[in-house]
């Protein structure tokens, strides 16, 4: 099957392309850029006039809720949502029920995702059995089964010796360890940033030092063990500063932030809006400014959706009892575009945070449209505005802090492996 995407503005951060160029796809791969290869006869032509053509988005944190939480969402519903959001690859954290701690579970998930013929799924396996923080999982077996990294999701890993051993073991084989820094004692029962809003609303709080203390432990052990460490969902100014300093000292550590945290702060909780009950908590305006500065200077590599669909009932509760999480797959691109516009970031740089950079963190040769690369492509209208509302979302999760807002950026085509998997 030959596809020609013509008249679009091609943005490919890896190859430093931002120009009006046609894309030619043959046999699942990019065959040529600019002019057609010899003898190329398109079976299908996508007219991308006025649209942007870029590598398919790669999301580092999308909960698909399978297995175990199918009442919240299913693989099918969320994979649909992913491609509707222009996402062609996604990493899912291991906090399913049971957790992704056995090769069989990873294989099953990969197999089921593959049969859906939509986005590519890269499971992140549990670092410890049952995410209990006690025993190591069979990491090499899990990698053979198809997982790409190891994480504790949001489960605590309080035993520092286990953390060190896990990092040493992962480093032995060159596996990546992804951790979200949060001290479990300091964050116990907390539901909001320890600041002005939690004080006003009387909400149990999570102080910034819960992040920095855990981060300090992780960075120290990463240096000690030489593991490939990725810090997930950094939330505070102090945290960003610590990662910046660690990198300046030569530690190879990568880092992501959620699209919600780029745009929102504790202030958005307003009168106890349960849609703003997120993990990590939304922090102060000063923290948000530092997260944006961290993105600009490259301390933060990637932006993830932190997609966490939650069923409606679980949000119709008092703030602290409401389930944490928000739907995000279909908002990732709009929120990145909004950030780029607000902070005057070049579109190529902004898009690299959801394409090339996450691919590198995943250790994949993806997130670019070089000749010969898999044809995972997103074609979107950057000037189209749409209103975020339940009916407009494919995800089974309908809750987001952005409900009712106008956002910018509508996906028109998503291609995975040279096949059109979504069209609007």
């Amino acid at each position: 099957m030959n596809i020609q995407i013509k008249n679009g503005r091609l943005i490919d951060p890896r190859n430093s392309i931002d120009a009006q160029l046609d894309v030619f796809i043959t046999d699942k791969c990019i065959a040529a850029i600019g002019s057609a290869p010899e003898g190329f006869k398109p079976d299908e032509v996508i007219d991308a006039a006025g649209l942007i053509v870029c590598p398919g988005l790669i999301d580092l944190a999308a909960r698909l809720r399978e297995p175990g939480f199918e009442y919240m969402a299913t693989l099918e519903s969320e994979m649909n949502a992913a491609v509707a959001g222009g996402i062609t690859s996604l990493a899912c954290p291991p906090d399913t029920d049971p957790p992704l701690d056995e090769p069989g579970l990873v294989e099953m998930l990969k197999h089921r995702a593959k049969n859906l013929h939509q986005a590519r799924l890269y499971p992140v396996a549990a670092l410890t059995t049952g995410l209990m923080g006690k025993e190591l999982t069979e990491m090499a077996e899990l990698v053979d089964a198809g997982c790409v990294a190891f994480s504790q999701a949001d489960a605590p890993l309080t035993d520092t010796r286990v953390m060190m051993r896990a990092m040493q073991y992962a480093a032995t084989f060159g596996f990546s360890v992804w951790l979200r820094p949060q001290d479990s004692f300091l964050s116990k029962d907390g539901v909001a940033h320890d600041g002005e809003v939690a004080t006003r609303c009387g909400l149990p709080a999570i102080p910034v030092c819960a992040e920095t203390i855990a981060l300090s432990t992780m960075l120290t052990l990463a240096k000690e063990t030489g593991v490939k460490l990725h810090i997930c969902r950094i939330s505070s100014a102090a945290g960003v500063e610590m990662i910046r300093a660690a990198r300046q000292q030569g530690l190879s550590v990568s880092c992501d932030v959620t699209a919600n945290h780029v745009h929102l702060s504790e202030m958005d909780i307003g009168f106890f809006d349960p849609n703003c009950r997120l993990t990590p908590p939304l922090r102060s305006l000063r923290d948000r400014a530092s997260l944006r500065a961290g993105l600009l200077d490259g301390t933060i590599d990637a932006i993830c959706s932190n997609h966490a669909p939650v069923d409606e009932d679980a949000k119709q509760l008092p703030f602290a009892e409401a389930e944490s999480g928000a739907t995000g797959l279909e908002l990732l691109l709009p929120l990145v575009l909004k950030w780029a516009e607000q902070d005057k970031v070049a579109l190529a740089d902004a898009l690299s945070r959801v394409t090339l950079q996450p691919a590198q963190i995943l250790g994949l040769d993806a997130g670019h449209l070089s000749i010969g690369a898999a044809a995972d492509v997103c074609v979107f209208d950057a000037d189209a505005y749409w209103k975020v509302e339940a009916a407009a979302l494919k995800s089974q999760g309908k809750n987001t802090p952005f409900t009712g807002m106008e956002v910018q950026g509508l996906v028109r085509y998503t291609l995975v492996d040279g096949k059109i998997v979504y069209q609007a």
Partner: protein
């Protein structure tokens, strides 16, 4: 952001918090409460038909005898039909959600809900959910707000001190976990009290509490110096478990209100407490029962203030 407790005419639709409550409404409630009191006798005399034919549901997801009783008396003096529900141990433990419970009670034709819940924001959630003709009164939600307590405290202060603009007020104790303290602070600053102090160890103060418009003191004697009003807070016994305090005795030594410490306040300072008191923990009996204590007046005034709140809400029913 729309103020969730006002209707489109700017009238009080729900009473959820004293934060952002317009000073005009606050003063109206206090004035109205005064009309329910026979000030010569110091007790209520009137039974009035202002809520005749209306159903008031006291819905308490957290147990309380005192607050519920004063709401019940207030509603009955307004001629309302009162239904008391202690849900703390029934429906929610059977799996029914908070809003399911509320829906069921709405179907029983409730006109007004008086709600207490252990979670901050519960009253806001209910107010957002119910039909526009139903009123919600927050009788305490988690650590967030207890507006009728704060209003009756303001009524008491005004009764004894006449004005707010020349007062120094100290709030003493567990501000961190106190919905009463938060509501008092907002009410005092709204009514124009120029100096509000909080006195507590650092473990019992929330982060950035000074942003609420208060001065922070850790030393009780300094904090009480020249104040006109001392508002004591109840200390929950479980605070010792969370490592917030070493012991009740040590707390009493540093922050318990004794005659010696009270001597630092103005000679005519009044002492208040929302109850129930822990004698010998946050307050010495000689102060609690002393001449400067107005704690029992608070209870009496509480009924008039709650009558004023309920009748104000019923009057805004448009």
């Amino acid at each position: 952001m729309k103020n969730p407790q006002l209707n489109k005419h700017g009238e009080l639709q729900h009473l959820l918090t004293t934060e952002g409550l317009p000073v005009r409404i606050m003063r109206d409630i206090l004035d109205r409460a005064a009309t329910f009191l026979d000030l010569d006798e110091g007790r209520e005399i009137k039974k009035v038909p202002l809520l005749h034919g209306k159903s008031v549901f006291n819905v308490f997801f957290e147990n309380s005898t005192r607050t519920r009783t004063t709401f019940e008396i207030a509603a009955k003096r307004l001629s309302a039909d009162v239904v008391n529900l202690n849900i703390g141990s029934s429906s929610t433990s059977k799996g029914e959600t908070l809003l399911d419970t509320v829906d069921n009670l709405c179907a029983m034709h409730a006109d007004m809900f008086v709600v207490r819940h252990s979670q901050s924001g519960a009253a806001h959630l209910i107010a957002r959910h119910v039909a526009p003709e139903i009123h919600v009164i927050n009788a305490g939600d988690g650590r967030h707000a207890h507006p009728t307590q704060a209003l009756l405290d303001m009524f008491t202060i005004r009764h004894y001190k006449k004005e707010f603009h020349n007062l120094r007020v100290a709030i003493v104790g567990d501000v961190l976990h106190s919905r009463v303290a938060r509501s008092q602070i907002h009410a005092l600053t709204t009514l124009g009290v120029p100096e509000v102090r909080v006195i507590a160890p650092k473990t019992l103060l929330p982060t950035m509490v000074e942003n609420l418009g208060v001065r922070v003191y850790h030393d009780m004697n300094q904090g009480l110096r020249d104040v006109d009003v001392v508002l004591m807070l109840r200390l929950q016994n479980e605070r010792m478990q969370g490592a917030a305090l070493p012991s009740g005795q040590e707390y009493f030594k540093n922050y318990g209100l004794t005659e010696e410490k009270l001597a630092y306040a103005k000679p005519d300072a009044i002492v208040m407490h929302p109850g129930p008191m822990n004698r010998g923990i946050e307050i010495d009996s000689r102060v609690a029962d002393g001449l400067q204590s107005v704690i029992l007046s608070q209870v009496t005034f509480g009924i008039a203030v709650r009558m004023a709140v309920m009748s104000t809400l019923a009057g805004s029913n448009k």
